[in-house]
């Protein structure tokens, strides 16, 4: 199995605080790779490093064999990495379909083609019926789906999902899990940050656990959640 994304020895500090400390892992192509850990563990910082919003202080990040650390966010997206944000960032005054259009226009310069592609993506994410609504008026679950749809429209090979399940009801979570599995079967590699363990367990093929910025465990989900270090990080030493 080829490695799609390789993170090697990556560290990032903020005025003395080590947000990410010497983290290394590989995301195999075609996998669904979850990053978990308590709040403040450095997960979103890691995403921001991969997506180009921050540059690492040390270490390297490679995508499809080429270095991407130090690239700007738009360059990273053009290489084939899409991302969502933990606090969703829709384009409020634009309609749902126009939001997704913006993503689709990356690979399809002709607006008519881009609109076709946008509609395809909207149908997959169950948003087609709401395509003319203003994005600013959507409910939170719909906004989350819009965020995913928009990133998907850029036709990424790797999709970074930052806590996309947070705030969703169980049925909605199941629906998103189904969609993600389907996308994965069609060839999309997914790297996700999640707190909702039921989703992680049902979907992830590999899990990385971060704590205080460092990687403390990596492997198949069932193994990782049983590791003492992991239990301790979530529940404290008394839990052991």
């Amino acid at each position: 199995m080829t490695t799609l994304l390789e993170v090697a020895g990556v560290s990032r500090n903020f005025s003395g605080l080590r947000a990410v400390a010497d983290v290394s892992f590989r995301v195999p192509e075609g996998s669904i790779f979850a990053v978990i850990g308590p709040n403040g563990a450095g997960k979103t910082t890691l995403f921001n490093l991969i997506a180009g919003m921050l540059a690492p202080n040390s270490g390297s990040i490679a995508f499809q064999g080429g270095r991407i650390d130090g690239l700007t966010p738009d360059e990273v997206c053009r290489r084939g990495i899409g991302r969502t944000f933990q606090i969703v960032r829709p384009f409020p005054a634009l309609s749902v379909e126009d939001n997704v259009m913006v993503g689709a226009l990356l690979r399809h310069a002709d607006p008519r083609q881009a609109m076709r592609r946008a509609h395809e993506v909207l149908r997959r994410l169950d948003l087609f019926d709401k395509r003319l609504q203003e994005a600013g008026s959507l409910t939170l679950p719909d906004r989350k789906r819009l965020e995913v749809a928009r990133a998907l429209a850029t036709e990424p090979k790797l999709l970074l999902l930052d806590e996309v399940m947070a705030g969703l009801r169980p049925t909605e979570i199941d629906r998103i899990v189904d969609i993600l599995k389907q996308l994965n079967r069609e060839g999309l590699t997914i790297l996700l940050i999640e707190h909702v363990m039921r989703a992680v367990m049902s979907i992830a093929t590999r899990v990385l656990v971060l704590h205080h910025g460092a990687a403390i465990a990596e492997g198949p989900p069932a193994d990782v959640v049983r590791e003492p270090a992991v239990v301790q990080s979530y529940l404290g030493a008394e839990a052991l």
Partner: protein
């Protein structure tokens, strides 16, 4: 192309637009000289408003120094005409080039160095002021004494040199406005337009979708400044005199933004409606005062300020959006399936 531009515009909107345009075309035949002058001023502000709107309404960058581009366009063609006898239409490409060049310089300085929001606005004010003071000392264009074009013979129409009757000027500015309007309609529906709106709404999210925001902001300021230059050309040849103190003055820049703000930033029709409203009402006010025997200079400008205040407080998105909703002029919902189905 026409299909793409018009496919989701409701039929009755097209009818209204057609009637409106027909009315504008017929105006010189129906209106007296005074009304025609007012219409010329209205269309002038509609045009500059449309041009400014590209940078602010579409791309979200607030420029409070657009008088710079008007002034550069005006002075370039006026100087070429006065010193070398070069007609305005030949001088116009030069004027546009110079305007675009300055827009690009300002844009590069600002966008490359992350100058945004209020800082960008202040930067644009500073550059316009810089030009105002600079041109005051620029002897080749007579500096602060003012540049005067040779007295126009208003009896005959000379389109090449833009000398002639008010009706001629009216049709010139009407044509410019229509072209600008159609151009912006095309822009909004193109890739550039979508990317601009994304940048306006959320620049960080836009970058995460692969948009090179620097490049598109530069395109916006280049187009906006380039589109504004012809207004300066018109201004120079219509009024026949230019003073740096007036041409580049900050209140000029504020006049340019009044129409779009009152009409609705980011909409196509906002600047046009806004120009009609604000200039029309201001002229009514002045007429009323004249009739009452009160002649108070500066009242018109106070009126502008009050209108701006009221609109900003009560109708922050301008008058056009609620009006359009009322007249049901939004996109046709039934035609939406065409591209995707």
């Amino acid at each position: 192309m026409m299909a793409l531009l018009l496919h989701d515009v409701p039929r009755h909107a097209l009818v209204l637009l057609g009637l409106f345009l027909a009315g504008l075309i017929a105006a010189p035949l129906l209106a007296n000289d005074y009304l025609l002058t007012v219409l010329i001023v209205i269309l002038y502000f509609a045009y500059t408003g449309i041009a400014w709107n590209v940078l602010m309404g579409f791309a979200g960058q607030l420029s409070l120094g657009h008088a710079l581009y008007v002034g550069l366009g005006a002075y370039t063609t006026a100087a070429l005409y006065v010193h070398f006898g070069i007609g305005p239409w030949i001088g116009m490409p030069v004027a546009i080039l110079i305007s675009v060049a300055s827009g690009v310089v300002i844009g590069f300085l600002a966008f490359r160095f992350g100058v945004a929001g209020v800082y960008f606005a202040i930067l644009t004010i500073a550059f316009a002021e810089f030009a105002r003071i600079g041109f005051d000392h620029f002897s080749w264009v007579q500096g602060s004494s003012g540049l005067f074009l040779p007295v126009a013979n208003r009896a005959t129409n000379d389109l090449i040199n833009l000398r002639g009757k008010p009706a001629m000027f009216y049709y010139v500015i009407l044509a410019l406005t229509v072209v600008a309007f159609v151009f912006c309609h095309m822009l909004l529906r193109s890739r550039v337009g979508y990317f601009w709106q994304a940048i306006r709404e959320d620049e960080v999210a836009a970058r995460s979708l692969g948009i090179n925001t620097f490049r598109y902001k530069m395109i916006a300021i280049a187009i906006s400044s380039g589109m504004t230059a012809p207004a300066g050309v018109f201004y120079a040849f219509y009024y026949n005199n230019l003073f740096p103190e007036q041409t580049f003055f900050i209140l000029r820049s504020i006049e340019i933004i009044l129409g779009p703000i009152i009409g609705g930033i980011g909409t196509l029709f906002g600047p046009v409606i806004g120009a009609f409203l604000i200039t029309g009402l201001a002229e009514l006010l002045e007429e009323f005062l004249r009739i009452s025997g009160l002649d108070i200079p500066g009242v018109k400008r106070v009126f502008y300020g009050v209108c701006l205040l009221v609109v900003v407080m009560i109708l922050p998105h301008g008058i056009w959006p609620p009006l359009a909703r009322l007249l049901r002029l939004g996109k046709r919902k039934d035609k939406q399936d065409e591209p995707g189905a």
